[in-house]
């Protein structure tokens, strides 16, 4: 008999018991860390009113439906906006700081590839009412504790500031429209286009050089040493965060002055989590000090999300690399060296 094929939507997948056990190990390890650090787990509906998600300014929803009253509903694209809504409506007068964590699926209209589904499970926290720098430092510490608990050894955290480049553009008196072309090039990670757009502005050599060099600065704390002028404020902010980190967290940090996250709600420090075993970030987060205000409860906030599938891929990749390292005759390509 021919098997019947019942397809599932592109970018979604089934998880069977062997994989599920491994995913559970990861989420349970993270849940224990979040619980210990005082973050209470919440659920919110996967479907929200599109207007509510739009107010938050996250990634645009990819899946929309009409309900029986003709209202437009959308599948959430992250948990940050739903939790901002939750705080503003359910915790109207609660004394901050408020600490929440979640393990929830989010949905985006991406091109599906390894570690990037259209439906994906995230684990994350939102720390509401804790301003920079100590709130940011706490979020980074929780992230590291979670990654340690998962068993990752080689991860690093790229730390930048979403306000750095816009501030730099404003201080050099670059018009909004020209500034947008530069920001678009940065978001597209296209330094050739950035140089090209800068060439059109007719700035002095020193300003052009500064605008091209700053977003390519990345490395240890030594790269912050010669930051001055218009970037000094953001850099001082990053140093303030760094100085509050415990050594085992601080040693994971790579400063990255060109770091851009695509969500529109970030206002200050932003970070991405990297592991050499995967070609894409495992997750990331940052400060969104304006977001709660859009829902009527202005409070500074910071949070992060880790994509469980990517943690799992990185974990298996690290295991493989470690096994390879124990057999020195085999090189990184799997070929035997003489």
């Amino acid at each position: 008999m021919r098997p019947q094929i019942h397809p599932i939507p592109s970018g979604t997948r089934d998880v069977l018991p062997d994989e599920m056990r491994e995913l559970r190990d990861i989420t349970e390890a993270i849940r224990a860390v979040f619980e210990l650090d005082g973050y209470g787990e919440v659920w919110t509906p996967a479907l929200e009113y599109e207007e509510v998600l739009g107010r938050g300014g996250g990634a645009p929803p990819a899946y929309r439906v009409f309900d029986d009253h003709g209202e437009v509903l959308a599948l959430r694209t992250d948990m940050t906006v739903p939790i901002a809504r939750l705080v503003a409506t359910r915790y109207q007068s609660a004394e901050p700081p408020l600490k929440f964590c979640y393990f929830a699926h989010a949905y985006r209209g991406v091109r599906p590839h390894r570690g990037q589904m259209r439906e994906f499970l995230q684990a994350g926290i939102e720390l509401v009412g804790a301003p920079a720098p100590h709130g940011t430092a706490e979020a980074l510490s929780v992230a590291c504790h979670a990654l340690d608990a998962v068993g990752l050894r080689d991860y690093r955290i790229g730390l930048g500031d979403a306000s750095l480049y816009p501030t730099l553009l404003r201080s050099l008196g670059i018009a909004q429209q020209a500034g947008k072309a530069l920001m678009d090039a940065l978001v597209a990670r296209d330094f050739v286009a950035l140089q090209h757009e800068l060439g059109k502005l007719g700035l002095g050599d020193a300003d052009t050089e500064l605008l091209l060099r700053v977003p390519q600065v990345r490395g240890g704390p030594e790269v912050l040493a010669d930051a001055e002028g218009p970037v000094a404020g953001a850099v001082a902010g990053l140093r303030g965060v760094y100085d509050r980190l415990a050594p085992e967290v601080a040693q994971r940090v790579i400063f990255d002055l060109g770091l851009i996250r695509k969500m529109g709600y970030y206002t200050g420090a932003v970070f991405d989590v990297y592991d050499p075993a995967l070609g894409a970030p495992l997750g990331g987060g940052g400060r969104y000090d304006d977001l709660l205000g859009r829902f009527g409860r202005p409070l500074p906030a910071v949070g992060f999300a880790l994509t469980i599938d990517r943690l799992h891929i990185a974990l298996t990749g690290e295991e493989k690399a470690a096994a390879l390292a124990r057999e020195p005759a085999v090189d990184a390509f799997g070929g035997v060296q003489s």
């Binding site: 597209a188 990670r189 296209d190 050499p276 894409a280 990184a332 070929g335």
Partner: protein, 211 residues
């Protein structure tokens, strides 16, 4: 991505290969073995992997190569790739063009009388984006082989294709009507390697920039 300090470099086969190997030699990577061995694809000693230019973004995005070299035409056709474009290497110069048969422009007439022009290309996304941007309706016909044949047989009124010298176009009685953009070789990097191997990538970038 390899976990060792050295970079894995994706090198394009075909028209960009010689220029790429020349530059790798010039920055101190000995590519003699790559030049003499046409069948081998992976050269672990010098961290070089060779592939079709259109595969370079795939390997670099996934981190199977840390950095790579490919044409801007390839990158324009794969705009959704999560990679860094670091440097215009200024060789492999060619142009993405719109061409039709010589004489009165048949694509203009098709647009005027039929409301839509038919265009054959190997660069579907590039062409679709271009006609959208210039406010014209076009039916894009994707072909895999010689694009020049399509307007000669009446399949389409125009083609969007890459040309370096224009010789093949001229031999087929085709003339360039519009230039979409000029393309050169670009150095691209995986976003995670760009952070975790920053020193090695910046060193390579500086050496290439100094050539």
């Amino acid at each position: 991505m390899s976990t060792t300090g050295a970079l894995t470099i994706a090198v394009p086969r075909g028209a960009l290969m010689k220029g790429t190997l020349d530059r790798l030699d010039a920055i101190g990577i000995d590519t003699r073995e790559v030049r003499t061995n046409d069948r081998k694809l992976l050269f672990a000693d010098i961290g070089v992997v060779t592939m079709r230019p259109s595969d370079v973004p795939t390997y670099v995005e996934a981190g199977a190569a840390d950095v790579g070299i490919t044409g801007k035409d390839v990158l324009t056709e794969q705009p959704e790739r999560e990679i860094y474009e670091l440097l215009d290497l200024d060789y492999g110069m060619c142009r993405m063009i719109l061409a039709t048969v010589d004489g009165p422009d048949p694509s203009a007439e098709a647009l005027r009388r039929l409301g839509v022009m038919r265009v054959a290309t190997k660069y579907y996304k590039t062409a679709a984006a271009y006609f959208e941007r210039t406010g014209r309706q076009a039916e894009i016909v994707e072909v895999k082989g010689s694009v020049e044949l399509a307007p000669l047989t009446g399949l389409v009124e125009a083609i969007v294709d890459l040309t370096a010298t224009g010789t093949t176009l001229a031999e087929n009685n085709l003339v360039i009507r519009e230039e979409l953009f000029a393309s050169t070789a670009r150095l691209i990097a995986n976003p995670v390697a760009h952070k975790l191997k920053a020193a090695a990538i910046d060193e390579m970038l500086e050496k290439l920039r100094a050539l």
